[in-house]
């Protein structure tokens, strides 16, 4: 029973998850691009690579914008969160091992101690976001159940991953949950608000183009 579950999540479901992830991203981008060509031609007319990049750079460097400087704690938490979130799945030794065993390719990996710390940072940040939504009035007003759901979707792989790696009690079940929750997160990215990952360069780039190229002003 256990092993059939294991083979399910580590076999076919991996393909499903990655298909939904990559396919979903392409689908979202292409359909948005088509919709823009049909109804928002201004986006094509005014998007300027230079000004788009200028704005994007100011917003992916910590403290690059006025609002980031006004909220240093939020800035540090969100930047560490996103960095660790992206780096861990790709450079974790355990993950790279799985890839090597399957396809005989590998790449550089994180030392386990660093990986542990980064996992705790992600989990800590998720706790920070949760508390923030419950406590900070301007965030609370905007929050709906779906916000808690996507937070759970993102936190789950990291909590279960930590649990699995350290072989805490019940780690065998945690392994299944980890793989499954990772797959759920991948599949959810293109189809939920987690898609901000793929749309950020476009919304930021467009605002940067409008502000920079048309209005000769800075949007950070």
């Amino acid at each position: 029973m256990y092993y059939s579950l294991y083979y399910l999540v580590s076999g076919p479901l991996v393909w499903v998850a990655f298909a939904l992830f990559f396919g979903g991203i392409i689908y979202r981008l292409v359909s948005m691009a088509r919709l823009a060509r049909k109804k928002d031609i201004v986006v094509y007319e005014y998007m300027s690579p230079y000004y788009a990049l200028r704005s994007i750079l100011h917003w992916i460097v910590p403290f690059g914008s006025v609002n980031m400087r006004k909220r240093p704690v939020m800035t540090i938490v969100t930047f560490s969160f996103h960095l660790c979130l992206l780096a861990l799945p790709i450079f974790l030794f355990a993950h790279v091992m799985l890839v090597k065993e399957s396809w005989n390719v590998s790449w550089l990996t994180l030392p386990d101690g660093a990986a542990d710390l980064m996992t705790l940072i992600v989990i800590g940040a998720c706790a920070f976001f949760l508390i923030r939504r419950l406590v900070v009035p301007e965030a609370k007003f905007l929050t709906s159940p779906s916000d808690y759901l996507i937070l759970a979707i993102v936190a789950a792989p990291f909590i279960t991953g930590f649990w699995t790696y350290h072989q805490l009690i019940g780690f065998k079940a945690a392994t299944i949950l980890h793989i499954l929750s990772g797959e759920i997160m991948l599949a959810a990215i293109p189809f939920t608000r987690l898609s901000h990952m793929i749309f950020f360069p476009f919304t930021r780039g467009y605002m940067g183009s409008e502000f920079g190229a048309i209005r000769h002003a800075q949007d950070w």
């Binding site: 948005m32 909220r71 007003f141 916000d147 898609s195 919304t203 930021r204 940067g208 502000f211 949007d219």
Partner: protein, 451 residues
């Protein structure tokens, strides 16, 4: 008589301002009409931007600190930019147009008196979501439903009937020009306001209220243009008004007609460019919204804002300063000129060239706060005045701080800023004057025939 509203009473418990325009429009609507109209607008006009802005907002609330309404209402979460969208367009999009009368009344009030479309929030949102665009969507829907606040709708009617904002008739316009020319010739013998002069370099355009309420600005502009020796003209026909309330009510069709009239007038007069007086939203209409509705990527004829024009005149030495303005001044960055046009540095150069003591308010430049009058909000008229003034305590604080540092005069190159800041100065008891950049230049410049 506006209803008094507490600073921290949650949105749901606040009393809605009674507006005859909204009432009359509401009486004509049925749930079926509402749903059908909203669906039609969303189908034809909501595209990738609308969808992306709706879906990419992660509900973080980081936009809150940007908004003068949020800050002035002691951080009431219902006034944050994203919250304003949640209470209006998010709900409309989610329900596919099935919204009731109470909801619509709140949506009208939020969209027309709780947001100035100043775009400060897009500088605070990590994604650069264009919240002003989304609020304008609400206004578009409101316009199509016939629920625009009465006073603002009246200006839109005036635009439709007379092509200007203030019901100025064709002969009244010419009379105003002749009158100001007569007055000005006492101080500047030989001054002319050339009307319908084909082939002039510049078509100087003004906003609707000028011939009616601020005629002295025409005098001053004529004085500056005359002294600088540039070749200019003004039209005798409708198309002289560069203002555009239709842009703010969501009446895009009329906005298009207005700008076409304005551009056509310039082209009929065969001028090289349009120089427009110190107005903020007019520039947005010419440079950003009106031209795009007509299909022009950029305006078909170059348009220069007064601030940039003054800068040119100083750089080219066509205007010289006799003696600088003595009273310490500060500078209000109108939204459409700083965030909207990047003219904040040139404006400061002109201020420094004409004034002895310049004290900056903080924050400034692109990050300066809106006056709360723009975006059509002051045009909603007296029922909304209290709310508008109450919603900009941060501007009052800014002005008080700069007054304590010694500033006596606020320079604001925008008509809406004048209305907004005047109301704030009076309501909060701040003893400062407000002036246009043209006022200062006229006062300090060397006039021909004077030593």
């Amino acid at each position: 008589m506006s209803t008094h509203q507490e600073n921290t009473v949650p949105q749901k418990e606040r009393k809605i301002i009674v507006d005859p325009g909204v009432d009359m429009g509401m009486a004509k609507l049925t749930p079926e009409k509402i749903e059908k109209t909203i669906k039609a607008v969303l189908d034809t006009e909501a595209g990738a931007r609308f969808k992306t802005y709706l879906e990419t907002c992660v509900h973080c609330g980081l936009c809150s600190d940007s908004c003068h309404y949020f800050l002035s209402h002691d951080r009431d979460p219902t006034f944050s930019p994203a919250a304003k969208l949640k209470q209006t367009i998010w709900e409309i999009a989610k329900n596919g147009g099935k919204v009731d009368a109470d909801f619509l009344r709140r949506a009208v009030e939020i969209a027309h008196s709780e947001c100035n479309l100043c775009r400060r929030c897009s500088m605070y949102c990590p994604f650069g979501i264009d919240m002003a665009y989304m609020v304008m969507f609400v206004r578009r829907i409101v316009h199509k439903l016939g629920l625009t606040p009465a006073n603002m709708q009246d200006t839109a009617h005036s635009h439709s009937a007379t092509y200007n904002q203030m019901w100025v008739k064709e002969d009244e316009w010419i009379d105003a020009l002749h009158w100001q020319e007569d007055e000005a010739r006492e101080e500047f013998p030989g001054l002319r306001i050339p009307i319908e002069k084909e082939g002039a370099d510049i078509f100087y355009s003004v906003i609707g209220p000028e011939p009616k309420f601020r005629a002295q600005l025409i005098y001053q502009a004529a004085a500056i243009l005359h002294t600088s020796g540039v070749s200019w003209t003004m039209p005798a026909t409708p198309g002289w008004d560069n203002s555009d309330m239709c842009m703010f009510t969501g009446d895009h069709e009329m906005m298009g007609r207005l700008k076409r009239a304005h551009f056509d007038t310039a082209m009929r007069l065969k001028v090289k460019r349009i120089v427009m007086g110190e107005c903020g939203h007019a520039f947005r209409s010419v440079y950003d919204m009106g031209n795009r509705w007509l299909g022009y990527k950029m305006p078909p004829i170059p348009v220069t804002h007064a601030v940039e024009f003054y800068h040119e005149l100083f750089e080219q030495g066509k205007i010289k300063v006799k003696s600088k303005f003595k009273k310490p001044v500060t500078f209000q960055d109108p939204c459409n000129i700083s965030r909207g046009l990047g003219l904040h540095e040139k404006a400061r150069e002109v201020v420094r060239a004409t004034c002895e003591t310049f004290i900056e308010m903080v924050p400034n430049r692109e990050h300066n706060y809106c006056c709360a009058a723009g975006g059509g909000v002051i045009n909603c008229g007296p029922p909304y005045k209290f709310k508008r003034v109450e919603g900009n305590r941060v501007k009052a604080d800014q002005l008080k701080t700069v007054m304590e540092k010694g500033a006596r005069v606020v320079i604001a190159p925008c008509h809406n800023c004048h209305g907004g800041i005047e109301d704030i100065l009076h309501s909060y008891g701040i003893d400062m004057e407000i002036k246009f950049l043209g006022d200062i230049i006229y006062e300090v410049m060397e006039k021909p025939g004077q030593e």
